[in-house]
């Protein structure tokens, strides 16, 4: 498959977007996000620590997993 054919397939799968501006005023949503209290519970902390530990152990046991991780990031 040449690149031109691939380009044409992609253009047909992802047609040019019709809208060039949002359908509604998004400012109120942004204000709500800004004013929402930041929730950082002990659950978030323990999940983050658990994930970091898991990644560290995986990399220590399987250093080649770093390449896989780098590819997916």
């Amino acid at each position: 498959m040449n690149e031109e054919r691939l380009r044409s397939l992609l253009c047909s799968a992802f047609p040019k977007p019709e809208s060039d501006k949002p359908s509604r005023d998004l400012w109120p949503s942004i204000v709500r996000r800004i004013e929402a209290p930041t929730a950082w519970s002990w659950i978030d902390t323990s999940v983050a620590v658990g994930a970091a530990t898991g990644v560290a152990i995986t990399l220590a046991v399987l250093p080649k997993a770093l390449l896989l991780l780098a590819y997916h990031l």
Binding site: L6, L10, P17, P22
Partner: protein
């Protein structure tokens, strides 16, 4: 992007003035939306990403240097937000089969289009981003490099990996035009 901005307005934004931030939002909203639409290709998702990007900008305002371009800074944040969204969507895409997307009779072209879209969404987001800009939007390597603040060599390498991955996935789905 409209980047002839009043330095005072940018300073007020950095200090947390919400009126200044709203003024910046009104000036940059359309440009950022168009940029995000190029990446995510869906108006509903683009609106969510836009809100997320401006919220991140406000949260990270202390890191913005008012002597630099607000437009370029905002575009970088919007790109990261869009990529995060693509990353979030990706695991779900990997569980979808072609049959999942088919509800009732559809044309051959439509089924093929959906298969191609699914195959594309399986690529890592950073490859999707470069491939979208190069193949769908028709941007040159240099333009992409400038927009994403990447070396041209990185753009070429990501594009090549994106094209290779997409060809492989399309072949797996039996699409051989």
């Amino acid at each position: 992007m409209p980047d002839e901005l009043d330095h005072e307005l940018l300073k007020r934004f950095v200090e947390g003035d919400q009126d200044a931030f709203e003024s910046l939002f009104r000036q940059f909203e359309a440009e950022v939306y168009r940029w995000v639409m190029r990446i995510v290709r869906d108006s509903g998702i683009a609106e969510d990403v836009l809100v997320e990007a401006f919220w991140r900008a406000y949260r990270g305002r202390a890191h913005f240097d008012p002597s630099r371009s607000f437009g370029a800074w905002m575009r970088r944040i919007a790109t990261n937000s869009a990529c995060d969204h693509l990353r979030m969507m990706r695991p779900r895409a990997s569980w979808i089969t072609i049959a999942d997307g088919i509800e009732g009779p559809k044309s051959v072209d439509r089924v093929q289009g959906e298969s191609i879209a699914l195959a594309f969404r399986k690529l890592p987001p950073k490859l999707q981003l470069v491939t979208t800009l190069a193949l769908i939007e028709g941007k040159s390597h240099a333009e992409i490099a400038e927009a994403l603040h990447l070396p041209v060599g990185t753009v070429k390498s990501r594009l090549s990996r994106g094209v290779h991955g997409l060809r492989k996935e399309l072949a797996r789905l039996g699409i051989r035009p």
